[in-house]
Symmetry: C2
Subunit: 321 residues, 2 copies
Amino acid sequence: MPGPGEFELIREYFTSRFQTGSRSGTADNGVELGIGDDCALLLPPAGKRLATSVDTLVADVHFPAGGDPYRIASRALRVNLSDLAAMNAEPLWFTLALTLPHSDPAWLEPFARGLAETAHEFGITLVGGDTTKGPLSITIQVTGACARPLRRDGASAGDIIYVSNQLGAAAAALPVVLGEVTVSPRQQQQAETAYYAPEPQFAVARAVEGYASAALDISDGLLADLGHICDASQLGAELNLDQLPVAVLAHSLQADAAVETALTGGDDYQLCFTVPARHRDAVQALQLPITPIGHLSEEPGIRCQWHGKPWQPRGTGYQHF
Amino acid sequence: MPGPGEFELIREYFTSRFQTGSRSGTADNGVELGIGDDCALLLPPAGKRLATSVDTLVADVHFPAGGDPYRIASRALRVNLSDLAAMNAEPLWFTLALTLPHSDPAWLEPFARGLAETAHEFGITLVGGDTTKGPLSITIQVTGACARPLRRDGASAGDIIYVSNQLGAAAAALPVVLGEVTVSPRQQQQAETAYYAPEPQFAVARAVEGYASAALDISDGLLADLGHICDASQLGAELNLDQLPVAVLAHSLQADAAVETALTGGDDYQLCFTVPARHRDAVQALQLPITPIGHLSEEPGIRCQWHGKPWQPRGTGYQHF
């Protein structure tokens, strides 16, 4: 049974669900004209920078092709929102470039619903897109307004390294999500939430905007992403693994390798940021869900101590090729 | 032989070639921070709208996978620039989401060069991207500044329909580009240019900004795209095919079906726009490469006359699914 043609498909699943703007004026988030013309027309907020980021999720590389379309859509948007959060930007607009092997309403309906509900939750507006025929992949570009950006390249030796919440949950969850291991229903649900519903760290970024010297989100694993902060500032790092906030899920699913998972596992989208030592007390007083795990140093490379001894991790993070 | 890892790949082929911005201030097109952080940081021009559009080109759906990577990159950017032109927006920034089966320097080098040279030609700045492993596809999002947008939905019955330059060249060229037919070296070159190097119609759009009631670029074929103008304004159209500017290439390669090709063939990226009859003389006086081909009417649907008789085209344009 052939699916609907492209234009009907776009109209049915996206335009109607995400309609914004009007002929006469502007709608929420400064959207003058949304989906359906050659371009969207947008009015950027006065006096702020725009922050923009794009990410592609390829089926069976970045998510299981057979996964729940609602959760896949939600995760795709959350992963992109995490880049806005890590830059300390407020969500405004996003576009969706969706490549599909065929136009299947049973897949598109929950996908569009997951996207719409996640967009609503974070106050971001779909302003355009493209649907093409081909192997399943999802490219989302997010744009936000940014008054005080948190860049990667502002750190100095001696700055304290913090991470938000816990690490390792999504990587520990992956074999469960992929159906490679069987766990209790409760663990199954925890695993799916850890993998599919990462929480962009807008609140933490906003709270530390006056103190942080550098920040990013941990998508490829702490060691790999902290390496980017080090590279951008030409520094190294000293980590105390006894302080590492390892996710309960990593302990329960991968007890033997929990620390390794927390260090090198991707997909958590927690914030990693650095703070000059003089701001330590002020940041502590914010009572955020953050943990100091070490400090930056002049010597290039990242060195780990565990139980008072040097420790060498096996991997360094997700490699895309 | 494994190619370079993702981060080296990005650095080598894109970051170095497209480096913009600086730690201390802003660079061209308001780029404060380009490739390499969680987000790009951009300063939009004051007092203008932003126009943005995204398009995905999938290998062997939208371009031949074995084509020249330089030309593929150039075409991918031109196709997106055409959406800015059709909206009457000036190019500012673009992002590239590139999915590749493997990291191959022999492909990436000419691809990056084609992208850089085309970006330079049109004054648009690469500000971010993502490279992922998977089936070859290219998603580009362009953003421009727009003072007087040309939308699809402003037309009225009686408005004259114009197209820029000629139609049908790219569709006629496709079998040549795909290697399905053999032609003279000169025709081969003309065909490759028609297909791979469409010219975004910035100059025409700018010239008619004070007169046009609606406009779009012809990507899926005149009938299909004019249908979008009609739908947006709840109108129909009457076309005189004797006036249709059929491309020489369509005549020389597909003489028997040249008019059909000009009506329904995609990929030309010429401008189709409408002008209220009272502006006819003013638009004529601009001496642009444009042709009036009919007018809008109250009756829904598009009707064609050829040699004084009604004529029914076989197809209506490219269907994506």
